[in-house]
Symmetry: C2
Subunit: 347 residues, 2 copies
DNA sequence: GGCCGTGCTGAGAGCGCTCCCAGAGAAGGT
DNA sequence: ACCTTCTCTGGGAGCGCTCTCAGCACGGCC
């Protein structure tokens, strides 16, 4: 393949001419070569190679009405997306899966609440075939946008509106938050801990609520003084821990709703000279690479396959697109991914 | 704007018909309305609104040969991109600037060394007008790819090959690493510190080398036992600190090449009961949000405008694209962004 | 030998848009 | 009054591709 002089790439026409076939046949070969006799296929491929032909994407999209791209909408007004390795890992998984299916990833970062107009315009503009989004807030306008744009969408994390059965079903991928929480709390209970506290995440995120529910599933009648709220950040975890210790100096275990908060809690415990896990056992959630194994002591936590979740999201979307194209296949359904307890030193 | 029945969006033709003008005039209005009389403009806009017309991007690209999208190439084989908030913040800046200019961001994550073929194909396929990339490794094939694809590119971080003057100039944006290092070390010197050590980053990253150079600029003849190498990670910082303490228990200050390593170093100092900043003063680099202000004590560090760098990268690229389109305007030149010393408690 | 598949190939019509160019008026100069 | 100039509008070509449909050759069957 030779270098091209800019602005004058060879067209299918040129390939066809060189191969001595019609444009239609050349097109067939370029798109898989079904129904074309071997010798012609070879001639066309040779011409493609010699000319360094690369199909013009716009022309193809114009007629097929498919772009080969999907949008990933990050509806995070502020820095959460960046401080949380969670998203990045999901994106990595999404990217891997899309790449494997020759589909491009267009990143749509929402720049503030007024920016949804632009997102809507983009999603409706035929730039992408589908959308992936992360559900974080209760009032997320993205589902309405994708519905109006008429493109399929898949969510990361259970959207809060799924509680509302009247609403349209949107497939999503989420970890088994409730089950994971049960796992963690049961483990602490089996360890013989009597007063197991909980540091929870923000109430507008279903993952936090589900984890709280799992905690309650195991402990049934929970004393409210054993539960403190955080915001999924290190600092809020520290604050919540301090609060719990003040209210319940007798606690002997804490299930923390994510690793970031757990590391904050750990710091507070250390500062107060409370030994972990001897005096207080601690279990986190997420098994976040850069956190869980770096703390002192390393965190026992509930592990989930974050990258796998991303892959799964992409796969569900691709399936939906395929269904749209071929008119057959099964409607994608939401998937809950399994979690496991990762035992380290903190409990 | 009414909801569209899927698959049958209104075309320019329909808009023109409804407004009682020709397709050409409708097109003019949609593209800014220059040279069209007011009453007609209004009629067309009304029709656009009533029909909910959205231009077909593919058709437009097919004729203009512009896609309105640029690629961001993340050539990180592994997890560096994700563990380092640096990239995320730059992306945020890039996204803001691109959005402001109605340009889309296509994220290209390189999935391993064999994946560059795919990247090359994509960049050559007319999917994007230009590329932004981050320079991390010496043998980065991206510049060759973009050159061959004939699209402009801008780099984040000084590429190592810029040392080679024979090579083609690629505009880049980087912080004043060397100047920042000088700032930090001079500050420690002014504090009266006599034995200022350095924990450096990996040798294949120009930022690490430039920071080392800045350190040397101030201290001139540096005793090699005062310099240890890290890998820009927390753990490597801890290791390097331990190594330094062993070799030079008399050191009274450390300039660490980034905040992540500084936090690791800090941990080691704390564990050994060495007081910071009394016995050893510590200065980091980056002023990374989630790190520098969270350590104990909070880190004195060299701050840089990471998001601003991202914006700048995007702006340089947009300017290059504009130049390509109009055939005039200045060739974008590399920019070195200023840094400042952020004084907190560690020095 | 005639007829009907069957398997490939090519001609040609668009996909929706931009932009060149010609032409229609309006405005201004002589 | 006519010619020139300028402003605005519409006709129409064409961007590069896919896909339908017709046509052709070949083989098998009656």
């Amino acid at each position: 393949m030779t270098e091209q002089s800019p602005g004058s790439r060879p067209t299918l026409e040129a390939v066809a001419a060189r191969a001595g076939v019609s444009r239609a046949t050349a097109s067939r070969v370029v798109n898989g070569g079904d129904g074309v006799r071997k010798p012609l296929v070879d001639k066309v491929l040779k011409a493609v190679d010699e000319l360094g032909y690369i199909p013009n994407h716009a022309a193809r999209t114009l007629v097929t009405r498919r772009t080969g791209a999907v949008a990933v909408v990050i509806a995070e007004p502020e820095t959460r997306f960046f401080s949380d390795p969670f998203f990045s890992q999901q994106i990595r998984g999404i990217s891997k899966e899309l790449t494997a299916h020759d589909t491009q990833l267009v990143l749509l970062l929402v720049e503030g609440p007024g920016d949804f107009d632009r997102i809507a315009r983009y999603l409706s503009g035929g730039h992408v075939d589908g959308a992936l989004a992360f559900s974080l807030h209760t009032d997320d306008p993205v589902p309405a946008i994708t519905r109006r744009a008429g493109i399929p969408a898949v969510y990361g994390g259970r959207p809060s509106w799924t509680a509302d059965p009247g609403d349209q079903a949107v497939p999503y991928v989420d970890a088994d938050n409730r089950g994971g929480a049960r796992l963690a709390v049961q483990y602490l209970k089996d360890l013989g801990r009597q007063r197991i506290a909980h540091i929870g995440g923000p109430a507008d995120q279903t993952s936090a609520m589900d984890r709280l529910d799992g905690y309650r599933d195991v402990l049934l009648d929970v004393d409210p003084t054993l539960v403190a709220d955080g915001a999924f950040t290190v600092e809020s975890g520290a604050r919540a821990m301090a609060e719990l210790l003040e209210r319940r100096p007798d606690l002997d275990a804490v299930f923390v709703a994510n690793d970031l908060m757990a590391s904050g809690a750990l710091r507070v415990l250390r500062e107060r000279g409370i030994s972990v896990p001897e005096q207080v056992a601690l279990v986190g959630f997420d098994d976040m690479d850069s956190v869980a194994s770096e703390t002192d002591p390393p965190l026992t936590t509930v592990g989930q396959e974050i990258e796998g979740q991303g892959r799964l999201m992409a796969r569900l979307l691709l399936r939906a697109l395929d269904r749209e194209r071929t008119g057959s296949g099964d409607v994608p359904e939401s998937v809950i991914t399994p979690v496991t307890l990762v035992r380290r030193a903190s409990a």
